[in-house]
């Protein structure tokens, strides 16, 4: 699914040259739930941007679904971001002027999807994160947790092959963060591949695999022992649904 071979990234300006990634090799398979952990400045966000095709590596080979990403044009990268990748950011990154529904349908509009199909998918995605009752609300009218769930719905609507989340709980309190993790775990149970960047060990413990990164190199890659099963509102919600049906 995701295959990185000796990826480096160097930022240069007139005087300074900083090597942020110093040779990262990594394989992520379908259905994994990976946490990339490291202190700030370790290069984890840069790695995430490269995986997300938002940035290009200085050297190395990146294969996403067997496509060589470094050989793609910016137009092709836009298509890959639109169809294969779903992003979730620390600051939600919703467009404040648009309603939840309008935010979610955006990637589908870029894809040129017909209106009826688009609305159906949008509603489904919002339903999956338990926000069917909030579709006409704007981000400012939603709580932080709800905003992040809209962002997740936006990523889901595109039906990507992998969800990339950069500090998804960083702006949320522990309880809300737990809810978001519950959503992620449920998605992973439905076979969605997830890559999370975090500096919070507790959050990392919700994943299946933990990659530690420091100073631009991987210093640890292990299966998560004693994985925490998050119990969020959504899980309870779905549980309630299950009971009713």
């Amino acid at each position: 699914m995701i295959k990185l071979e000796n990826i480096t990234k160097t930022y240069k300006n007139d005087k300074l040259s900083v090597e942020v990634l110093k040779g990262i090799s990594l394989d992520i398979e379908d259905g994994e739930m990976v946490a990339i952990m490291g202190p700030s400045g370790s290069g984890k966000s840069t790695l995430m941007n490269i995986i997300g095709c938002l940035d290009v590596p200085t050297s190395g080979i990146y294969l996403l679904s067997n496509q060589e990403i470094q050989k793609k044009s910016s137009r092709q990268l836009a298509i890959i971001r639109n169809r294969e990748l779903g992003f979730i950011f620390q600051k939600y990154n919703l467009i404040p002027q648009l309603t939840a529904e309008e935010n979610v349908e955006m990637p589908l509009i870029y894809r040129g999807m017909a209106t009826r199909e688009r609305i159906k998918r949008t509603r489904e995605a919002l339903d999956r994160v338990g926000l069917s009752h909030r579709i006409k609300h704007r981000p400012a009218e939603l709580s932080g947790g709800e905003q992040q769930r809209v962002a997740i719905a936006r990523a889901l609507a595109a039906e990507p092959r992998v969800l990339l989340a950069d500090e998804p709980t960083g702006n949320l309190d522990t309880k809300t963060g737990e809810e978001i993790m519950a959503v992620f775990q449920e998605l992973n149970d439905q076979c969605m591949t997830l890559v999370l960047v975090t500096h919070d060990g507790d959050i990392a413990q919700h994943c299946k695999r933990l990659i530690r990164i420091q100073d631009g190199i991987i210093i640890g890659d292990s299966k998560v022992e004693s994985r925490i099963k998050a119990r969020g509102v959504l899980a309870e919600l779905n549980l309630a649904k299950a009971v009713v049906s």
């Binding site: 910016s74 971001r81 992003f87 990154n93």
Partner: protein
């Protein structure tokens, strides 16, 4: 298609988020379009005024006038010309004056023309009532008058003037006919005129000289032939090509058109400068808008927006500014033209000026919007996302 709607929506939301700024940016375009329309309306109005005046003189008419060299025309000259030049239908003298006239105890200033029975033919005028001047009137220097429509209204207060006496410089003239109304509201011109036999007019003015003639040719083609012919006759007679001025109506029209074209161009150019300045204002604000929304651009790119999606959004935004500004400018331009029209000069909004100025405004929006929009579209997603 959907991406255009999305671009339109994003642009609209962007504008609505900054209403005051959007309006101020529009102001440049509004003033530009408004001034183009208003200024050109003055030129167009002047042209229409001229055209109406031209028409009142009749078609295929050649004006002949003395340019010094002691050139004076006589009634015998007229007869001679009519006989010698076959392309001429009729010729009349132009003896005109402006004076105080009285009817009973009403008095007003009007123009009077000394003319002959051929006036109606030469100027394509029609009589509304009574009769026009006759050959006999001219021959016997009768004190009869035919009055214009405005004279009836203003001097006679609408009463039937037929059989009434109109007093011109102490002489009573019997009104024998009323002219059909010609123009709109003429302060000067045939509607505010009194027509009397040329012989009577020359006596009133204590002169035996005629300074100008109006000569009607048989057709438009004959007008050209007659003009050349007349020039030759007068040059021979007075020994100088400039002794007599000869201008056909077509020549006048060409001159009027040319003058008007220059006037329109100059006014249009002046007004276009403000449109250009408006365009620079748009570019300036669009650059600010792009910078402010860098993060939004980053988000959209992360969701798979291609460069053209972003480009369209910002281009649409600048075109909305210029287009809406253009529409407001057109509305104000109509108002401005009416206002100027009330203050003095005759104005007429020309459709061309409306279309051209609106097109120009939208064009300005596109041209000055392209660079900021391209700047936005070419941003790298990761850099745009990191911007606060």
């Amino acid at each position: 298609m959907m991406s255009l709607i999305l671009g339109f929506k994003s642009a609209w939301l962007g504008l609505m988020g900054n209403k005051v700024r959007a309006f101020l940016t529009m102001l440049g375009v509004i003033i530009g379009v408004c001034s183009v329309i208003t200024l050109v309306s003055v030129a167009t109005g002047a042209r229409q005024q001229m055209m109406m005046h031209m028409e009142s003189m009749g078609t295929n008419v050649i004006q002949v006038y003395s340019q010094g060299w002691n050139v004076r025309f006589t009634l015998d000259d007229l007869k001679e010309l009519e006989e010698r030049v076959p392309t001429i239908k009729a010729a009349i003298p132009n003896v005109e004056n402006w004076t105080y006239m009285r009817w009973r105890n009403h008095g007003e200033n009007f123009g009077y023309s000394g003319t002959t029975e051929k006036y109606l033919v030469v100027t394509d005028s029609k009589l509304a009532r009574g009769r026009f001047l006759t050959e006999g009137d001219v021959l016997h220097r009768r004190r009869v008058a035919v009055v214009g429509d405005q004279v009836v209204e203003v001097l006679f207060k609408g009463t039937n003037p037929m059989g009434q006496n109109i007093n011109i410089q102490g002489q009573n003239f019997l009104v024998v006919g009323v002219m059909e109304r010609k123009g709109k509201e003429y302060a000067i011109g045939p509607d505010s005129n009194v027509f009397i036999p040329v012989t009577s007019a020359m006596r009133l003015m204590a002169t035996n000289q005629i300074h100008g003639l109006s000569i009607k040719a048989n057709s438009a083609e004959d007008t050209r032939v007659a003009t050349v012919h007349l020039k030759r006759i007068f040059q021979k007679k007075y020994g100088h090509p400039d002794a007599v001025g000869i201008h056909s109506q077509q020549e006048w029209l060409q001159q009027v058109e040319e003058m008007n074209r220059i006037m329109t161009l100059v006014m249009g150019a002046i007004a276009s400068i403000s449109l250009l300045v408006g365009g620079i204002g748009i570019m300036n604000i669009m650059l600010v808008s792009v910078t402010e929304r860098t993060r939004e651009i980053g988000i959209k790119k992360s969701l798979g927006a291609m460069n053209h999606h972003i480009l369209i959004q910002f281009l649409v935004e600048s075109v909305i500014i210029s287009g809406v500004g253009g529409v407001i400018g057109i509305i104000l331009g109509f108002g401005g033209a009416n206002l100027v029209g009330m203050l003095g000069p005759e104005t007429a909004v020309s459709l061309t000026s409306v279309i051209v100025s609106f097109g120009f405004a939208v064009g300005v929006g596109v041209i000055f919007g392209v660079w900021p929009a391209m700047k936005a579209a070419s941003m790298k997603p990761v850099e745009a996302l990191q911007r606060e």
